[in-house]
């Protein structure tokens, strides 16, 4: 790491996240003046153009890659058209202890006077909550599911290589051609398409303008500076910004800046979930790197420096502040930009190149919160890449996570994508599978599967509130067989999924009509050809995921019921009473359930068969339902941090888990339930037919001593490869001992940069709230002999 990168890293690490109201103020003014004058796509595009013309620019004194969403690093704009924060929200953001955002009193006052009066009742969030039916609300409020789109826009995508061969001027030509070809006589949607296409054209202009403003600023800064080295750098920055994104990039520097402008455009236009991701960055940059080296105009060090500058840029962009349930289930600064390393190319050949290794060096040097790398391993991936990645894993940052490319491809082909598009796909966010540059793969919300069982065991009532939240599936004390209980659980599950999908479909149309994303639609394939927005079925593929949480907890609970109630001497009424009392005065019963039940994660078919059955029921309940874009819902097995929130909303469970403790995370076994080591965990997981999902998530926590020698790393690679030959989608590792985590709790200031794997991403341990900290500590420590 050279001095420049050292300085930039320190600045980025130390910058305090803050709220910038600039975007909200410009937007409010614009809407007051213009709402109703244009079609909504054009209105959105004109607002975006206004923002790109007016927003405060920032070029830091050491930077090579330029552009910020806010007026300074880590300044986050608000998006009142989606969620209009109240003055109280802003005061809480400014004062809360965790994931705090600095807001000035003056800004709060301005917000109160100008922004809030306009947007209250008009924001997407208000409109959603004013509409939803009572039964949905009851289920939502008791924690049966969450709703992703109530305060952030659906984003959930990554880019392919399109922007490295197509400048905005080229996109504009395509748009113009498409506009010319519209058939107003025979196509009843022609005028809608025309509005959409005009909006896309304006969005291209907006981003070009934004870049030119940076060029002008860089030139002005160069005029005013004496240092000839920095002066030359600023002139180069100006040249680069005049070239991209108007034209396609010609070299490594321009390629990175091209991506960065597109990234900024998409996250400024709206605040889609998971920000934006470059996808297979190593594959996109590889040709520019090789050309630069061959021509003698780029060195390995220079490429690494530019990559580091880019990395820091992403780190400067924390997630927009969340509110309500979403803040509870996703309390992190991380905005989930994920960078895929390795994988396959479109033609099925190995995708790794020298840039893959450069990226691994950069993440090892910087080990910042964002962006987070993942290594994609196919049968064709050289062992060397996995080995080098495992050396970074050993450092304990919690990344890179490791994905099975062959499974990621298979999942997509099963869902109907072409094999080439599937290979160009990968994972973004945490573990979500999608076809990069061609797909909206929208997460719609988490489903609390153990809660579905709890409601079933209480005949449709939430035992924590006494409120009726589900279907009356029958009094469980009169069920004679396990089969009867299971059937009731499945009926309850289908009822809850119905509720969720009904409201999702409504919200989806709200976005299509009121909040189109013309710029995102430019860079995702087929939107221009179809003349349709990203939110309206424009992309080539349009998937909705429902993410199912707690498969470990629900499997173990069903196993306990099967073993002890239906297959043993335990009375259902006695068990239900103990659950209601959170096992008060019933510790022996709790331990019996906890110690004498076959649990998932031990390579024990008695439990694993139940998991398979539950997984199949989830698949049947979700997969193949229609969304509003003529495409389908699929199953996803991600929990992110929602298992902690869902656990809080869940009473004691039949597996001996006490009330309000976290559920099992992702597809991992329940905390402490896996007692036979990592190979048994992997075997259990391999019994899940993961190809039928859009991603699974397996956390493993290893003691550092287990990975001390290079031979240990070979064995870790062997474990990963074996899991993948058995059909695993993803595995990730925390390499840290409990003692270190306890010390970090005691003296957080000394551990400010201790990164740990939380869900499909890493976070600073000291930035997690106490519940999440305890959750990570309680994950089974795999110590090996």
């Amino acid at each position: 790491m050279n001095e420049r990168i050292g300085r930039l890293k320190r600045e980025s690490f130390e910058a305090v996240p803050s709220i910038s109201i600039e975007r909200a103020v410009i937007e409010t003014e614009f809407y007051r003046e213009n709402y109703g004058k244009y079609s909504l796509p054009v209105l959105r595009a004109r607002f975006f153009h206004e923002l790109c013309a007016k927003k405060t620019l920032y070029i830091g004194k050491d930077e090579l890659i330029v552009g910020e969403r806010g007026p300074r690093p880590k300044a986050v704009p608000t998006f009142p058209e989606l969620t209009c924060h109240t003055a109280e929200d802003l005061r809480i953001l400014n004062s809360r202890t965790m994931t705090r955002y600095h807001v000035t009193g003056e800004d709060i006052k301005t917000y109160e006077e100008t922004v809030i009066p306009y947007w209250q009742g008009r924001s997407m969030r208000d409109r959603v909550f004013n509409h939803v039916p009572e039964d949905w609300k009851a289920a939502y409020e008791c924690g049966l599911f969450t709703e992703f789109m109530e305060q952030r826009a659906p984003g959930h995508t990554a880019l392919d290589g399109l922007i490295y061969e197509t400048g905005m001027l080229d996109f504009k030509m395509r748009i113009a051609k498409r506009l010319e070809g519209l058939d107003y006589l025979n196509d009843p949607q022609a005028s809608d398409k025309a509005e959409q296409l005009k909006a896309m054209d304006i969005a291209c202009n907006a981003v070009m303008l934004f870049a030119v403003r940076h060029a002008e600023l860089a030139d002005r800064m160069a005029d005013e500076i004496d240092d000839p080295v920095r002066q030359a750098e600023l002139r180069r920055i100006a040249d680069v910004c005049r070239r991209v994104p108007a034209h396609k990039p010609r070299d490594f520097w321009e390629a990175l800046q091209m991506y960065w402008f597109v990234h900024l455009g998409t996250i400024t236009e709206l605040n889609g979930w998971d920000a934006m991701s470059p996808g297979h960055l190593d594959q996109h940059l590889g040709p520019f790197y090789e050309q630069g080296i061959a021509d003698g105009v780029l060195t390995r060090d220079a490429a690494k420096e530019l990559l580091s500058c880019f990395w820091i840029k992403v780190n400067n962009h924390p997630a927009p502040p969340k509110v309500g349930v979403t803040a509870k289930e996703s309390g992190t600064y991380n905005d989930f930009t994920q960078i895929n390393i390795g994988g396959l190319k479109r033609d099925g050949s190995d995708g790794s190149n020298e840039v893959s290794y450069l990226i691994l060096e950069v993440v090892d040097d910087l080990h910042l919160l964002q962006p987070q790398p993942s290594v994609h391993v196919s049968e064709r991936t050289p062992e060397r890449l996995l080995k080098v990645a495992s050396r970074v894993i050993r450092c304990g940052y919690g990344y890179p996570s490791v994905f099975n490319t062959d499974m990621v491809v298979m999942e997509q082909v099963r869902a109907g994508k072409s094999v080439e598009d599937a290979r160009e796909g990968g994972t973004s966010g945490c573990i979500e599978t999608g076809s990069f540059g061609k797909e909206a793969y929208v997460l719609t919300g988490y489903l609390n599967v153990p809660k579905v069982l709890e409601v079933t065991l209480n005949n449709g009532v939430d035992p924590l509130t006494g409120r009726e939240v589900g279907l009356k599936t029958g009094d469980p004390t009169i069920f004679k067989t396990y089969g009867e209980l299971y059937d009731a659980f499945v009926r309850q599950l289908e009822y809850v999924v119905d509720l969720k999908v009904r409201v999702n479909n409504y919200i989806e149309r709200m976005y299509a009509k009121h909040s189109p994303a013309p710029f995102l639609s430019v860079v995702i394939r087929d939107c221009i050809d179809k003349g349709r927005d990203y939110y309206d079925g424009g992309p080539r593929y349009n998937t909705n995921y429902i993410q199912c949480c707690g498969i470990g907890t629900v499997t173990d609970s069903l196993s306990a019921l099967k073993t002890h109630v239906f297959g043993g001497g335990l009375d259902m009424a006695e068990l239900l009473a103990a659950l209601k009392n959170n096992f008060e005065e019933a510790e022996a019963l709790r331990l019996l359930l906890w110690n004498r039940t076959p649990f998932f994660g031990n390579d024990d078919d008695r439990a694993d068969d139940i998991m398979k059955k539950v997984y199949d029921s989830l698949f049947r309940a979700i997969d193949g339902r229609l969304n509003t874009k003529g495409s389908l819902y699929h199953l996803n097995m991600l929990s992110t941090t929602c298992h902690v929130y869902f656990g809080k909303m869940l009473g004691a469970t039949p597996n001996g888990r006490k009330a309000h403790l976290p559920e099992s995370d992702g597809t991992s076994p329940s905390h402490g339930a896996d007692r036979n080591g990592p190979t048994a965990v992997v075997k259990s997981l391999s019994k899940m037919d993961q190809a039928k999902s859009g991603g699974t998530l397996l956390n493993q926590r290893f003691l550092p001593s287990v990975l001390s020698s290079d031979r240990d790393l070979d064995k870790l690679c062997g474990l990963v490869r074996t899991y993948f030959t058995l059909g695993g989608h993803h595995i990730q590792f925390n390499v840290v001992d409990t003692e270190t985590l306890r010390k970090a709790q005691e003296t957080p200031d000394e551990y400010r940069n201790l990164l740990v794997r939380v869900a499909g991403y890493s976070d600073y341990f000291v930035d997690l709230d106490k519940d999440h900290q305890e959750e990570i500590i309680s994950r089974t420590e795999q110590e090996l002999g």
Binding site: A588, P678, S709, K715, G718, L719, L726
Partner: protein
């Protein structure tokens, strides 16, 4: 048998399963698997886990158990190790020190990790206790593993009849052979047995061309003297075909196991093997032309 450890990564090459067989003729003061010393299967009790439900007291045919404020306690005189308490306790406060297994039941566990052996070239390690104490059972297990094409390792003190050892060697791919001390008197003092047969057995195995790694459990103040290290290095270097030694630094992690078994910890007073001493030992052994690894 007293335990099976899956994903064993320090008992031979690649990802392995280690099967621990009960019973050992040695009594090394530093033994870290004391539950493997006795060939008998006994019951042990951990009162700190007891929640006082009294289930075990009611189930005990010998009335050997009582529950007090400090948890359950067991009258070891009256106890016949029948294990009824083990099966009934919800809190796992009673455990057996091992289990009676058949070749088939062991193989069932071994087979579970077949995909890992296939992927990495790993296999099965038999350890103990002293696996050579049950030569017939061991040979059957090794043969069964051989039929599955698995790599087989035997981790031994080498204290056995030479005919037994050579017979087992026919079905073994790698020996992990512990060599504790070159001086017979010291060896007797700390392990309870003479090293005469052990040295002869190593030599015989080496002469037969069997793959072998010699392992030195490094005990500060006992066998890490320069004299012993020199003698060990010279001896091992003189064995035909043996080029690798593993140094296993002493740690006192087993102390809690002794407490659980109600035994006094005999290794009390042995200091932890410091890195400097370990490196010193490695350097001396390397000077004899050996390839030396720490940790195995």
């Amino acid at each position: 048998m007293f335990a099976v450890k899956r994903y064993a990564i320090h008992d031979g090459p690649n990802i392995r399963t280690t099967v621990f067989l009960k019973g050992c003729p040695l009594s090394c003061v530093w033994c870290h698997n004391p539950e493997g010393l006795s060939p008998a299967i006994e019951v042990v009790t951990m009162p700190e886990r007891c929640v006082g439900c009294g289930e075990c007291v009611r189930s005990c045919p010998e009335r050997a158990l009582i529950v007090t404020g400090q948890g359950v306690s067991r009258d070891t005189e009256a106890c016949t190790n029948c294990g009824q308490c083990v099966d009934i306790c919800p809190a796992l406060a009673h455990e057996r020190t091992g289990s009676g297994e058949t070749v088939e039941s062991v193989m069932e566990t071994v087979r579970k990790d077949m995909p890992f052996y296939d992927q990495t070239g790993g296999g099965v390690t038999f350890s103990g206790g002293e696996p050579l104490m049950q030569p017939v059972f061991l040979k059957k297990l090794l043969t069964a593993c051989g039929r599955l094409g698995l790599h087989r390792a035997v981790d031994t003190s080498g204290f056995a009849g030479q005919d037994v050892l050579m017979d087992v060697a026919e079905e073994t791919d790698l020996f992990l052979f512990d060599l504790k001390h070159m001086d017979d008197a010291v060896h007797r003092k700390y392990t309870g047995v003479s090293n005469e047969d052990i040295l002869a057995n190593i030599a015989a195995l080496a002469a037969a061309g069997v793959d072998m790694v010699v392992r030195l459990p490094l005990m500060p103040g006992i066998n890490d003297t320069d004299a012993n290290l020199q003698a060990t290095g010279a001896f091992v270097a003189g064995l035909a075909g043996v080029r690798r030694m593993d140094v296993l630094p002493y740690h006192a992690a087993a102390r809690s196991k002794y407490a659980k078994l109600g035994l006094e910890y005999p290794g009390f007073g042995i200091p932890k093997a410091e890195n400097g001493r370990v490196n010193h030992a490695v350097q001396i052994l390397k000077r004899h032309g050996l390839s030396v690894r720490v940790g195995g």
